[in-house]
Amino acid sequence: MSVVPLIIKREFVAKVRNKSFIVMTFLSPLLIVGMSFLIAYLANMNKGEVKKVAIHDELGVFKKDFKNNKETAYVDLSAMPFKAAKDTASKNYEGLIYIPKVTNPKDLATKVEYISDDSPSMEFIMEMEDVINHQLTQNNLKELGFDSAKIDSAQVESDVHLAKFSGEDSLKGLNEIKIGIGSAFGYLIMMFIIIYGNFVMRSVIEEKTNRIIEIIISSVKPYQLMMGKIIGNSLAGILQFAIWAILGCALLVGVSSLFGIQAGGAASSVDPAMVDAAKHELGGTIQMYIHEIWNLPIGTLITCFIIYFIGGYFLYSSLYAAIGAAVDSETDSQQFLLPIIMPLMLGVYVGFFTVMDDPHGTVATVFSMIPFTSPIVMLMRIPFGVPWWQLTLSIALLFGTFFGVVWFASKIYRVGILMYGKKPTWKELYKWLKY
């Protein structure tokens, strides 16, 4: 029997039996769900608060236009003198909208002030400006002799209908969905590489500190041990992801059915016909979205996810193994880890910013070719459709580099596992390559 399966089995069992693995596997989905609920709850709580804003309108033209809404309630302090209004507002209200007395109302475009110690949100500022713009525009139109009511009724709200050359309907926001799906896959790969790369590193360090390493490599080749370790840990990781996926689905189904019942209960008090119509419309849109999602290259996406996952994970975890071999303890590993994490981070950020902007632009294309970033960036691009030659080239580059890096890492690994006591420098690592 070859020794590599034995090593894989041991690594897998050692990892899976570990208490922290079990706790992590079953607790983190709960934590994630709990966290998202907490965030949603906190965000809602924030929204529930109504801000009170005072208005001091010396012209008396605007105060009627500021209408209370969910977030803001307006209080009219125009009756008070400005100074008193300012004092009251600073004590009792979020802020004060000051509309000064001007001879030419057109000057108001630049003269209105908002006085507050807190910086207002962009949303609020835009809301204020909208009110002012609208009012002043109306005034201008009236001055020029237009009937503003007619102009209002002449306003058109357009809605461009998206379709494909094949004749199918297309949906707005599909781009965002594609980005979301691509990013999720890319991000998943990055997380997996970092978490499981660290596991590999820790396992190497453990063998060094236990002093069992020399016994093991008197039976097997260091290369076999390293590969066994990497594969064993990745299997443990895949198991963990599978459990998460199943738990996640179960939780999602559970939670949405819970919410579904509540939504139904609330809706029953409304006119049933309206609910039906809404359901139909909503159902139709959702169906279209689902249809669009199924229309994404899902087969390619999943196949590529697996291919890039294997390539990327092996590429990085062999580096993690080399680092584990080079150092005596995890604390020493930091300086060597930085150059590993950098390209991963770069991949994620380049992915987020350039792919979203232009999935087939030069930057996105180049980064989806570079083996250290391609597992992340290419996965983000795949939902937008990537030419086959690019995919093939990128995968070939990834696996070519992977073999090179494994060779390089196993050289360092081979020497490092037998070195104790001192933290090596970059120069020494380079020397080890030549031993």
Partner: protein, 307 residues
């Protein structure tokens, strides 16, 4: 006699540093072979090459007449100086795993394990983790792991370091028993008394070179100084000393005895022991007369300091 292990002109370099400078050794079948040398002499480098942990830059190694190949690991049992076990793995599983890595089938490994566990009376440890065992207990497991696959050649690097005297003795007896059954043993240590006691062959490495190799008794013969340790009760000390100094080189020495005799180290050079005895018996009562045989320790220090 055939050799279980033959090392031919092995060279090992680490960058500019030469760890082994064309070293050749012959370990006879069935011997206990002491590999000696000060720290940094190249012992561990050589042992790692024999275990195929590192590759030599030059030269060849033969195990039982065959050029060293990966499958030979199953014929070698190695206990390195830096040794340990997986702390969180159970004793039984760990032993099985390590035996299987050496190429032993699962069932065979289990059978062997049972034998050793019974022998050391540790059958109830099977499900314990190493971290639950005391250091001495863990060392027993370590030894079992080394010999479980019935190697032809056992390589032990400082085997007694860290063992308490009771366990050290136990292990020593096991090594001797295995040797009697035909296992050849290479023994690297700084503890000269155990070399003296157990080894029948020795080799001395110093600064990457082999300085001495051979049967222990032959090495001792070649380093003998023809000196005798003598104790004598004499009434006429002046005459005794005069006659002795005429013929031999002497010096005062000390050894344990019940009398208040004169204690001397006498170097014979070309004279025979009988000539010395004649002078001694004519001048008093001989209480002690022993040839000073060089100890391994003496040979070691003498050879290393000469270079």
């Amino acid at each position: 006699m055939s050799s279980i292990l033959e090392v031919k002109n092995v060279v090992k370099q680490y960058g500019d540093y030469t760890a082994l400078n064309s070293v050749s050794l012959q370990v006879p079948q069935g011997s206990i072979y002491g590999l000696l040398g000060p720290n940094g002499a190249g012992k561990t480098s050589l042992i790692r090459i024999i275990n195929q942990i590192t590759m030599p830059d030059g030269g060849e190694v033969y195990l039982d007449g065959e050029k060293l190949a990966p499958h030979h690991v199953q014929h070698i049992g190695y206990m390195p100086e830096e040794r340990g076990l997986y702390k969180t793995m159970k004793v039984g599983e760990q032993c099985l795993y390590l035996a299987q890595l050496k190429g032993l089938p699962h069932s065979e490994a289990k059978k062997q394990l049972k034998y050793w566990f019974d022998k050391f009376e540790i059958g109830n440890w099977w499900d314990k983790k190493i971290q639950e065992l005391s250091k001495g207990m863990a060392q027993k497991v370590q030894f079992i792991v080394t010999v479980l696959h019935e190697p032809k050649l056992l390589i032990l690097d400082e085997p007694f370091s860290g063992f308490d005297p009771v366990n050290a003795n136990l292990i020593k007896d096991e090594i001797i028993e295995l040797n009697k059954k035909g296992t050849s043993v290479i023994f690297s240590t700084h503890r000269m008394e155990s070399v003296e006691e157990m080894c029948d062959y020795i080799a001395l490495l110093h600064k990457s070179n082999k300085l001495i190799e051979g049967k222990l008794i032959d090495v001792k013969k070649s380093h003998r100084t023809n000196s005798f340790e003598v104790g004598i009760l004499s009434d006429n000390v002046e005459r005794l000393m005069y006659e002795l100094t005429q013929k031999f080189k002497l010096e005062q020495t000390n050894f344990k005895s019940l009398n208040d005799e004169i204690k001397l180290n006498i170097k014979l050079d070309r004279a025979t022991p009988n000539e010395l005895l004649n002078i001694l018996t004519q001048n008093g009562q001989v209480t002690h007369f022993v040839e000073k045989i060089p100890t391994v320790n003496d040979i070691f220090i003498q050879t290393v300091s000469q270079k």
